[in-house]
Assembly symmetry: C2
Homo-oligomer: 394 residues x 2
């Protein structure tokens, strides 16, 4: 692993995978603190379920149903209803273990860490050992299908402190996060049945964040997501028509026109897409054909750490309150990576979107968006880009 | 027009179409009150725009961009940023005109009404006379396309009183609303360039409702919406494979299995779809092949008025607070109608969805939904259906 990051793999008490990514010798996890094991008496997460009458049923994990009206798979994670929601600071499950405590409620066994990744305790995608990944049907006519939601949901904590965020932690830590994305994308893409890996971050209560600790998520889907399916269809039609890669042509066109370019570095281009559908939307793309994060060179990763943080900073200067202060932008920032077999058609790019349409107003996904999937924008891509350029240097 | 509804067409001062649908002789609009004209000194809505330096530019209306990454058209209504948002009751623009007032700010010229429909003042879809509906390109390579968003957005007010709603107004009024949907679907589908008509209602502040007055909306899209495109692709694949109509087969299967059926009447079936993606979701379908609302028989419309209101009532009993009171369910309720040319493939059905996942929690569309269009449900369709059956009779 590049960039002097040390990975240590361990397991939580209930069998979930847990990885430390330490970025500075002497490494904090297991060296200074020497406590990598999870001391909690957590039960086997695959244990049979016992109902009120004492009857046992085997745990088969979450399922997903095929929506025959749209062609989408819908994972159904009914067990997630009771997940932790905005706990007080002293019950933060992503805080490091308290030194000397015999038992603790959090997810982190060690008393310090740099970056950690672990399987989500409330996973909507989960492969359960012994449960075959096969389609079954609710009806004899085989119209209504279901399958195990045999993917994987991981959490990535960017640092040990509740009050920090990616921006305050700086480029060196960002670089470690990138290495963690590289590692997880490689390992998850190699797993049976995984079609696509999505590394993303939800930021802000307005977007539904349920824990304030600075963290992101990594979903390994056992299907190609609907957004990616749309992109694949468009990319393949474009290749048939022109012989070229769609995302390469989009990037070249945006660079030529220039009106929606926000910033450029040696290896990356940040622009507002010509049909931006959200009040704030940015795409961050490498200059060359890259299908997934692990293919990025060291130089590209180094460069990315810088522009990623500048992008977040510009987002935080986008909306200004009447008193001159800025709105901490709620956002979803996620990596579009090629699914298996689509390495030539798709191209790695990050999409950052925000529902904040003014300092005090949010965009809601109401009838047209939720019922018809037909987005309506209240602004223009050129206005978004102009504002971002205006606030880029701070 | 059936059901003893009288339609009166008029115009607002700025040229927008305005329709009264009166349901009881003596008819309230123009008979009892005799004031159908709009007395406001509103400017021509298609007037040229004059900038700070006095330069005139022709008003060309909203445009839409083609999102080449997804294949979706995205209307961009930058002029809507300043639309009215949750005004106080005395500034309710959907209230009837005050008797004797020489001038009023509201949208309703008459001092009373039953149901009215009019073109939205802050329309994201609008055909501007003289603006040709042609595609142009941002770039020489013709990759980034735009077109006028030459559709139409109408508002439908269900009644004159701010504090009422469809449930409190009752079946007779609901029947009038159905007649208004029939009328508008027929007229809008006959307009140049309109592909699809969507009659829907956003209910509740949590879904982004910007005006409390009981109202719905009618969008006439100049394109086939992404959701409908997905359904069409699935329906056509199903017909190729089986020779049958997809939605007919889904309905037949749901009736046979029964677990997700909520209620049935002579002409309608209300069920939770097998792959429901929202915390609450119901589909309401006629028993026979009907492409759009105007094809419904009188008996089907009559029957619909009853089950529609019972459906809303059951929704309002879905979530119970700890004190025994119920949550007024925020919802989107919208009609999927066949676009032009797809009358045999698609079938009319209503979809009601809610983001309320517990009495005090909402479902947010975060990373997976917003970034990947991959919905994850926190419940199961069978649980939703069981709860709805439990509260159906109140």
């Amino acid at each position: 692993m590049a960039a002097k990051v040390r990975k240590t793999a361990t397991k939580l008490a209930d069998g979930r995978d847990f990885f430390y990514f330490d970025d500075s010798p002497e490494y904090v996890s297991g060296e200074k603190t020497r406590r990598l094991d999870d001391p909690r008496p957590l039960g086997d997460r695959f244990a049979p379920h016992v109902d009120e009458d004492g009857n046992e049923t085997a745990f088969t994990g979450p399922i997903m149903r095929y929506d025959v009206l749209t062609g989408d798979w819908i994972p159904m994670a009914a067990h997630r209803m009771n997940r932790t929601f905005l706990p007080p600071a002293d019950a933060n499950p992503f805080a490091p273990a308290r030194p000397g405590a015999a038992y603790q409620d959090g997810e982190i066994p060690d008393t310090d860490y740099d970056v950690v990744v672990f399987e989500n305790r409330f996973a909507s995608l989960m492969r359960v050992p012994g449960v075959p990944d096969v389609v079954s049907y609710l009806d004899e006519g085989e119209l209504l299908a279901e399958r195990p939601a045999a993917g994987r949901c991981e959490v990535i904590c960017f640092g040990p402190k509740l009050e920090e965020n990616l921006i305050s932690m700086g480029e060196k830590r960002m670089r470690t996060v990138i290495e963690a994305w590289v590692d997880r994308t490689e390992e998850l893409m190699a797993m049976d049945g995984i079609e696509q890996v999505y590394c993303f971050e939800n930021h802000g209560v307005a977007i539904g964040v349920s824990l304030h600790h600075p963290h992101g998520q990594i979903y390994a889907y056992p299907f190609v997501t609907p957004y990616t399916e749309k992109m694949l269809r468009q990319a393949r039609a474009h290749r048939e028509k022109t012989g070229r890669n769609l995302l390469a042509d989009v990037l070249e066109t945006e660079l030529k026109l220039g009106d929606r370019i926000v910033a450029q570095t040696e290896h990356w281009v940040l622009y507002v897409p010509a049909a931006a559908r959200w009040p704030v939307e940015m795409h961050l793309a490498p200059r060359r054909q890259v299908a997934r994060i692990p293919e990025l060179t060291d130089a590209e990763r180094e460069d990315l750490a810088g522009i990623y943080l500048k992008m977040l900073q510009a987002g935080n200067r986008f909306h200004q309150n009447p008193d001159g202060s800025y709105v901490d932008l709620p956002y979803v920032s996620g990596w579009h990576q090629a699914p298996k077999g689509a390495e030539d058609d798709l191209r790695l790019h990050l999409q950052l979107i925000s529902i904040q349409r003014s300092p005090d107003k949010l965009k809601y996904l109401a009838g047209s968006e939720s019922g018809m999937f037909a987005w309506i924008s209240d602004t223009t891509p050129e206005k978004i880009a102009a504002r971002l350029r205006e606030v880029w240097e701070g």
